[in-house]
């Protein structure tokens, strides 16, 4: 019986258990003429849980352990001459072939007699374990059902138990979010440490040359992995982006919050939200196809050599992308400044712009700084726009009209292609990722702390 069919059957049994529990609770109530602690549905649910959860736990445990057990047994049975001298990869391939044969799939070149014999053995083992599993699960489910049903009584606080289970389920869901962060940090840390066994951290963090030669021969120099050109490229593009996004975004927010008539606000807000949702690859394509050539010809007119893919192109378009982000964050913050402060300034005879510049903005300053930091973090972590429009030039230079490489672009370059998780060329992607993560995390944390402190002022 396939796994899906098994689970489906279990669910059906659970439904049956629910029904039995429900009727039983009604019967008990009628028999003793008492009020049950909980509504019948809860008793039904509890019986179903007692029936299903142990069986499910058994299933999960079994599914994790059984294949490994079977593999072990099959390998034991293999003739020693066959396996002598095999390394790990060859063993894995052999097992895969045997597994395929056991499942009646074709393998390249047909199976050797030993493989076929082993496959037959494996097939028998698989059938055996499947049958055992079904039997065990059935037993566990039925036992659970019967025992639980017996316990249905007026004093049994079914609802409390069910709610406990629900709350544990909810809590485990939130745990997943935490595990994600832990997962990110651990996995990247692990691979990055492996990388640092090849290249020293000092060389990585302070190196000024990036030239990771993909060694085909395997023995010559691994190449140079200096972070600084990439870091500098990231900074250049981000700074250009922020120079575009911050003035435009902030002034847009101010205008929307203070000057715009209500109809304009209600039209513009959804538009800005939609803009924030345009995928970055669209911006990247736009940069490549429209902005790049435009800047290049502009440069020709003015007499500067601007490349079609350059830090300027990518930075400009990235700035456009971040404008809605800055604008909506700033708008939230500005509207949070209490009206009494504005009234105080206006009452003294200040014009609107004076009120905004001299009273509202200084009051909102921490929040706005937080918004800028978040925007910077966004710019630094952006990938697709730079992949398409910034060119590929991991060299330390100061010319925004030339191509650059950023950290994100390099990660993509290093990991596309052959994914050999043992070579420094692939592992460096994780070291880069870790650096990126730490930088953006730092910015985000500072921003959140700043904004929080600011909110406390007004609550």
């Amino acid at each position: 019986m396939s796994n899906i069919a098994l689970i489906a059957t279990l669910l059906v049994i659970m439904a049956l258990a629910y029904h039995l529990g429900l009727t039983r609770s009604r019967a008990v109530a009628a028999e003793h003429d008492v009020r049950m602690h909980s509504r019948p549905g809860y008793y039904g649910a509890l019986v179903a849980l007692w029936c299903g959860l142990p069986a499910l736990a058994l299933f999960i445990l079994w599914s994790l352990l059984a294949p490994q057990l079977i593999d072990m047994l099959v390998v034991q049975q293999l003739p020693p001459e066959l396996v002598a001298g095999m390394n790990e990869r060859e063993m894995a391939t052999l097992l895969r072939r045997i597994t395929a044969l056991a499942n009646e799939r074709n393998v390249a070149g047909g199976g050797s007699p030993e493989e076929l014999a082993a496959a037959a053995h494996m097939a028998r083992l698989q059938t055996f374990q499947n049958t055992t599993l079904i039997a065990l699960m059935a037993v566990v489910a039925v036992v659970g059902l019967v025992l639980a049903r017996r316990r249905v009584s007026p004093q049994w606080r079914a609802r409390n138990h069910v709610e406990k289970v629900i709350s544990i389920a909810l809590a485990s869901c939130s745990a997943i979010a935490i595990f994600t962060t832990v997962g990110i940090v651990l996995s990247m840390l692990g691979e990055a440490l492996k990388f640092f066994s090849f290249i020293s951290p000092a060389e990585f963090f302070f190196g000024t040359t990036w030239n990771p030669r993909f060694s085909t021969s395997g023995t010559d120099a691994q190449g140079e992995f200096g972070l600084l050109p990439l870091l500098w490229g990231t900074m250049m593009v981000s700074i250009i982006a922020l120079l575009v996004a911050i003035p435009v975004g902030l002034m847009t927010a101010i205008y929307m919050a203070e000057y715009a008539p209500p109809w304009l606000r209600s039209v513009a807000k959804p538009i800005i939200e939609v803009l924030a949702g345009i995928p970055t690859i669209v911006y990247g394509f736009f940069a490549l196809i429209v902005i790049g050539p435009f800047l290049s010809s502009l440069g020709d007119v003015v007499g500067i050599n601007i490349r079609t893919t350059s830090a300027l192109t990518a930075g400009l378009v990235m700035g456009i992308m971040i404008i809605p982000f800055v604008s909506s964050l700033s708008d939230d913050i500005i509207t949070q400044v209490p009206k009494s402060l504005r009234d105080g300034a206006l009452g003294l005879g200040a014009t609107k712009s004076e009120t905004i510049r001299q009273v509202v903005l200084p009051a909102a300053l921490p929040g706005i700084v937080g918004a800028f930091l978040l925007a910077a973090s966004r710019a630094i972590g952006e990938t697709m726009i730079v992949v398409l429009a910034a060119g590929n030039n991991p060299v330390l230079h100061g010319n925004p009209f030339e191509a650059v490489s950023t950290i994100t672009v390099t990660i993509v370059n290093q990991l596309t292609g052959d994914m050999d998780f043992a070579s420094p060329q692939s592992l460096v992607a994780f070291a880069l990722g870790l650096t990126l993560f730490v930088i953006t995390l730092g910015l985000n944390v500072i921003a959140l702390v700043v904004v929080r402190k600011y909110r406390q002022q007004y609550e």
Binding site: P262, P338, K339, S340, L341, R342, D343, G344, A345, L346, G347, L348, G349, A350, T351, E354, Q358, V359, P362, A363, Q457
Partner: protein, 278 residues
């Protein structure tokens, strides 16, 4: 006019014994409202009010909640302009010039008619900066020394100088409630307006702070015309030369404070001050 032959009744609202205010009001009409109506969107809040404000007097607006006193007060320096759905009709003059005329500069108006709000709203700046903001804005001080003078004299007038003279660079928001309100009064005074509007200035303060502010109002009326909204009838009796009673958007009657509280002409006024409704 009351032609009753009964002896003059004692004041229906007791004024503190031994207190007698000497009014500093002149006969000049400083501000005048003629048939002023105010609308919030479609609903009408003020129904055609005529009122004169005399120079250097203290004029109190009293009346139950929601009767329009604050709304009318805010018309006097066009603070209602900041509310989109608010519309004002009629004529209000300052020194015989219509303040709602299209060529009238609101900024200038507000430099002449200042306002103190119910809840103290000092800027999140230093005490010095709070006071200096207005004069600096309008270019009233050319040099730092002049600005220092203005700050000191404003704080003295507000009776706050001795308390804060050693900590002028501390944030204004760090003061107590009563001090903050006096700071706001000092801030308004620093611009030397002709008229000071006060919207329930003491309602957020404790009794001691309230007493201080009331004393301040009395002193300020020597140089400024003061129009204040108050919820507290005793307060009106204590500080105001004239009192105007508002009810449901109408100006019911306005007269000297003594007359209003001893001899109200309108039944509604009578009911209000005897506590029939709040």
């Amino acid at each position: 006019m009351n032609t009753s032959t009964e002896p003059k009744t004692s004041p229906m609202v007791s004024v503190g014994a031994g207190e007698s205010r000497t009014s500093k009001a002149t006969d000049t009409v400083k501000m005048s409202a003629q048939n002023v109506k105010v609308f919030y969107g479609a609903s009408q809040a003020i129904n055609g009010i005529d009122l004169d404000v005399y120079e250097n007097e203290v004029l109190a607006f009293i009346g139950p909640s929601g009767c329009g006193k604050s709304t009318f007060l805010r018309c006097l320096n066009r603070m209602n302009d900041t509310i989109d759905i608010c519309r004002v009709e009629g004529k209000i003059t300052l020194d015989d010039k219509d303040i709602y005329a299209p060529d009238r500069d609101v900024v200038l108006l507000r430099a002449q008619v200042g306002i103190v709000f119910q809840k103290p709203n000092p800027f999140p700046k230093s005490i010095y900066e709070n006071i200096a903001y207005g004069p600096r804005l309008h270019g009233l001080a050319k040099r730092k020394a002049e600005l220092d003078d203005i700050v000191e004299s404003s704080l003295r007038r507000a009776g706050l100088w001795d308390e804060v003279k050693d900590r002028l660079d501390q944030p204004g928001t760090g003061l107590s409630g009563g001090q903050q309100q006096r700071l706001c009064i000092a801030r308004t005074v620093a611009v030397s307006p002709d008229v000071i509007l006060m919207d329930e200035p003491c309602s957020a303060l404790d009794p001691i702070a309230t007493a201080k502010v009331e004393q301040l109002i009395d002193e300020l009326s020597e140089s400024y015309t003061i129009v204040m909204v108050t919820h507290n009838m005793q307060q009106a009796a204590r500080v105001a030369d004239r009192t105007a009673f508002f009810h449901m958007g109408d100006l019911v009657e306005v007269d000297s404070t003594d007359e209003i509280f001893t001899n109200p002409q309108d039944q509604r006024t009578h009911d209000y001050i005897t506590g029939r409704f709040g």
